[in-house]
């Protein structure tokens, strides 16, 4: 067990954990940031996606010992002063969920995509979102939401 100081959603947070413990487990079990979800534990579903220095990362495959001083953003950190981020708002506007369990990971992966590629084609959206599973099958709405967020940013 070691003490780590993590930079999460703009704050420094101290946590005692085993270095090989996954960031997902640290976020959920130690820090009660339960908006990041477990879906498979092997990087196949994307439910656990967080941003590390702005890049979508599978927290289930990321040992906390390797995080260092990267800036971690979880779904709880996207809303600013009561204002949803454009991608969150677009998901809400498109009704791009059913049970919503995949939504955190979908949103963070989309944020990462739009940061790198502000105006993605549908093919680029599909290619970069393909590692995220929605068992309710709301994929077309998620694509529409990402398109909406990208279009909104263009205006």
């Amino acid at each position: 067990m070691r003490e780590f100081v993590l930079h999460i959603n703009g704050s420094h947070v101290s946590v005692t954990a085993s270095p090989e413990e996954s960031l997902l487990s640290v976020l959920r079990d130690h820090l009660k940031l339960t908006g990041t979800h477990y879906g498979c534990g092997e990087g196949q579903c994307g439910a656990c996606t967080v941003l590390l220095d702005g890049v979508a990362t599978r927290s289930c495959l990321t040992p906390v010992g390797g995080v260092g001083d990267t800036q971690i953003v979880t779904i709880e950190g996207l809303e600013q002063n009561g204002r949803l981020s454009p991608v969150q708002q677009a998901f809400l506007d498109e009704g791009a969920f059913q049970c919503g369990y995949c939504t955190s990971g979908m949103i963070l992966n989309a944020v990462s995509l739009l940061r790198k590629t502000p105006h993605p084609t549908d093919q680029q959206i599909v290619a970069s979102m393909n590692g995220n599973i929605c068992r309710c099958g709301t994929y077309p709405r998620i694509v529409a939401a990402i398109r909406r967020a990208a279009d909104g940013a263009a205006q």
Binding site: T34, L78, Y101
Partner: protein, 717 residues
């Protein structure tokens, strides 16, 4: 493992009425909610005994199905044992209440699936919430509105008929004076009991129901604020993990837990063949389980290789044929057009993205469990039985969960968490791993379906024989007009634990029947749509077939070996649906891709068009998995593909162009729409493949990997 479809999971054709006391007594109730108007819905048979009971002073009725409370601030709370699992019922039921009660939608809060707060409910399955709970809530709401109009009329000493209810107020249109509902109820203690006799608003006049209101609490789902069952946190909570046997029906031969006993903060719980651990966090709990050394004895068990022979050989006549009419053998023998075919269906997994999860907390001999289930009251009873408790010592809470699709009817995780929490003396959270979810949940039944059918040379059906071995009887009867019929579901000995799945066996039976219809149409040299319409009297099914065909442009293009067009229709649980599909085939690469799907849907009056569209489109996407590639591979009591890396589910890249056509029948009662939307995708795709020259009478049709020991490689891989 069960011999057949678990009796508890047996498809419920109709939800039986079962009545239990209001969970709260009157004192609790007033403490919880203060004064106000309480309206309870009771079954008509009970209503006869309860009649005249109204307005304060009386004990609460014993047997109610749902209830509604309006407080002094005009806030409306509605209590039902139904649960929200992503099907949007929390929103659509609130719309129906707001509509009949004439209050703003935002003032209605649905309290759902909590065994201490809501009336008993058998569970959320069979697409019953909309047709059963919908009218009950509407009736309560209409009765409450009537009482409020009468209360205002009494205060103003005028006739109730001269007043109107609107936006949470009773208004006197002549003077423009008004009372809010809260002003009319506040401080008082009003109780009213209703049965299903109120006159409800016609769907044609709906203003709140029938509109595309967004998901209730939608913001909580994009901010991570919503707490799923696996997100529940309790003070001093520990984390559990369970040691799983190496196969089904295993017995524990030996256990060495010495390496684990040394870990700080870790406790091993060993009771018979149950071995689990509790630890300060989930990571440590999983690591501790991996350090347990256990030997299991696993009996020899069958694999996919023997599956279909086993199902057929072990099946029995069950309750006899579902329908039998005319001289089937004679008609089959005499008719000029005859097609016989066997269809097979592999087991598939629900694989909800949130695996089974529970948090259990004991308080003396009482236990509270937060868990994801479609049957909170069923899980309460399972817990009571497992721990020898009375039902009222068990409190089950169902936070809106990461869905179930029929897969979360049972309470095994709740029992395991409660067992660990009892041993630990602290609250315990248990979240199944993905591989546990794939292995130790239950599956959609596999099946063998045999159809023999015949038609006259003009394409009129004359005989239809449909045997389903094991997969189930839902939608087993043909909707087509056939004079001689034998339709028979044969229960069988299932080698894997099986249970409900979205639409039950309707997906399998409709797949086989609609595939068979195309084979017959082909033999009769008729267009598949014309052939169906020629043999179909059901106006609602005809309407969706025609709507799908029209939107798709059916018949505009002919199928080729590289490109196929297919159509299929079906009805079950009050929903009518038809789909047209276009597939692209690459014979060289042995691949098939679904290019485009147009699906028409009709289930009476639409309560929320956008929510319904979301359900039907979602069913199409989910249906792609069972149609093309999902299958549980198993041998010797083990699942061989218990990971998303091995069990392929539909992803973004599998999604075709989708168009959903909704038919709104405001003249018909609203039916449920969570399930039947999934039944036509597979046969529409099968028929598109068939039209392109590929015959695939199997679900899945294009498995990525061959079943272990399969004699031939899959056609499409």
């Amino acid at each position: 493992m069960s011999g057949r479809v678990d009796s508890e999971l047996e498809p419920f054709q109709e939800e039986r009425w079962r009545l239990l006391a209001l969970p709260l007594d009157r004192r609790d109730f007033l403490r919880f909610f203060g004064g106000g108007l309480l309206v309870c819905f009771v079954h008509p048979a009970v209503a006869a005994q309860e009649s005249g009971r109204s307005f304060g002073g009386h004990p609460l009725p014993r047997d109610i199905a749902a209830w509604l409370h309006i407080d002094a601030a005009s806030q409306v709370r509605v209590f039902t044992g139904k649960v929200e699992v992503g099907q949007n019922i929390r929103t659509s039921l609130a719309q129906l209440v707001a509509e009949e009660l004439r209050v703003p939608f935002e003032t209605v809060t649905m309290v759902m699936g909590d065994t201490a707060l809501t009336p008993y409910d058998m569970g959320t399955f069979g697409s019953r919430s909309t047709p059963t709970m919908g009218p009950q809530l509407r009736t309560m709401s209409a009765a409450a509105r009537k009482m409020l109009l009468e209360a205002a009329a009494a205060r103003w000493r005028i006739e109730p008929a001269s007043l109107k209810a609107e936006a949470g107020k009773v208004i006197d249109p002549r003077t423009a004076r008004s009372f809010t509902y809260g002003e009319l109820t506040g401080g008082q203690d009003l109780v009213h009991v209703v049965s299903d006799s109120e006159i409800l608003a016609s769907a044609a006049d709906w203003k709140i129901a029938g509109t595309s209101l967004p998901k209730a609490d939608g913001r909580d789902f994009v901010t991570g604020r919503h707490q799923y069952p696996s997100d529940i946190v309790r003070e001093n909570m520990l984390f559990g993990a369970v040691l799983r046997p190496t196969g089904y029906d295993a017995t524990l031969v030996s256990l060495d837990s010495s390496a684990v006993e040394k870990l700080p903060g870790v406790q091993v719980v060993h009771e018979g063949d149950f071995v689990g651990v509790v630890a300060p966090d989930g990571f440590t709990a999983q690591r501790a389980v991996s350090l347990l050394r256990a030997q299991w004895k696993v009996p020899a068990q069958p694999s996919n290789r023997e599956l279909f022979a086993l199902l057929k050989d072990s099946s029995d006549p069950g309750d006899g044929p579902q329908s039998a009419s005319g001289a089937v053998e004679q008609a089959l023998a005499a008719a000029p057009i005859r097609v016989d075919q066997q269809y097979t269906v592999q087991y598939i997994a629900h694989a909800p993205l949130e695996p089974r999860a529970a948090v259990a907390e004991w308080n003396g001999s009482n236990v509270t469990v937060w868990t994801g289930t479609q049957r909170p009251f069923g899980v309460r009873d399972e817990l009571a039985q497992a721990f020898h408790l009375a039902a009222d010592q068990v409190h089950v809470i169902q936070p809106d969960m990461g869905s179930g699709y029929g897969g979360k009817h049972t309470g095994e995780t709740a029992i395991e968490a409660a067992r660990l929490a009892r041993a630990a003396g602290k609250p315990v959270k248990l979240v199944w791993t993905r591989s546990e979810e794939f292995t130790w949940a239950y599956f959609r039944p596999a099946g063998v379906i045999e159809i023999r059918a015949a038609a006259q040379s003009d394409g009129k059906l004359v005989a239809w024989e449909h045997h389903n071995h094991n997969s189930g009887s839902a939608a087993i009867g043909t909707p087509y007009v056939v004079p001689a019929q034998l339709v028979h579901y044969h229960p069988a000995r299932s080698p894997l634990r099986q249970g409900s799945y979205r639409s039950l066996a309707a997906a399998a039976n409709v797949f086989a029947r609609e595939s068979h219809m195309d084979a017959l149409a082909h033999a009769a040299h008729l267009d598949p749509l014309d052939f169906r319409l020629k043999n179909l009297a059901d106006a609602r099914l005809r309407a969706v077939l025609q709507a799908a065909a029209e939107a798709f442009g059916w018949g505009r293009e002919k199928s080729t070996p590289a490109r196929g067009f297919g159509i299929a229709g079906g009805t079950d649980k009050g929903g009518y649906t038809a789909a047209c599909a276009e597939v692209a085939i690459d014979p060289a690469a042995h691949t098939v891709r679904i290019v485009r799907v147009v699906q028409a849907w009709e289930s009476g009056a639409i309560v929320n068009p956008d929510g319904l569209r979301n359900q039907i489109a979602g069913a199409i996407v989910q249906g792609i998995g069972g149609a093309l590639f999902e299958q549980v591979l198993f041998a010797d009591g083990r699942v061989l593909n218990p990971r998303f890396a091995q069990y392929r589910v539909p992803r973004f890249s599998d999604v075709p162009q989708i168009e959903v056509v909704l038919l709104d029948r405001k003249d018909l009662p609203s039916a449920g729409a969570g399930e039947t939307g999934i039944v036509v995708l597979a046969p529409a795709v099968a028929n598109a493949l068939f039209a392109a020259g590929v015959h695939a009478p199997t679900l899945p049709m294009a498995p990525r990997t061959p079943a272990p020991g399969a004699s031939a490689p899959p056609l499409w891989s």
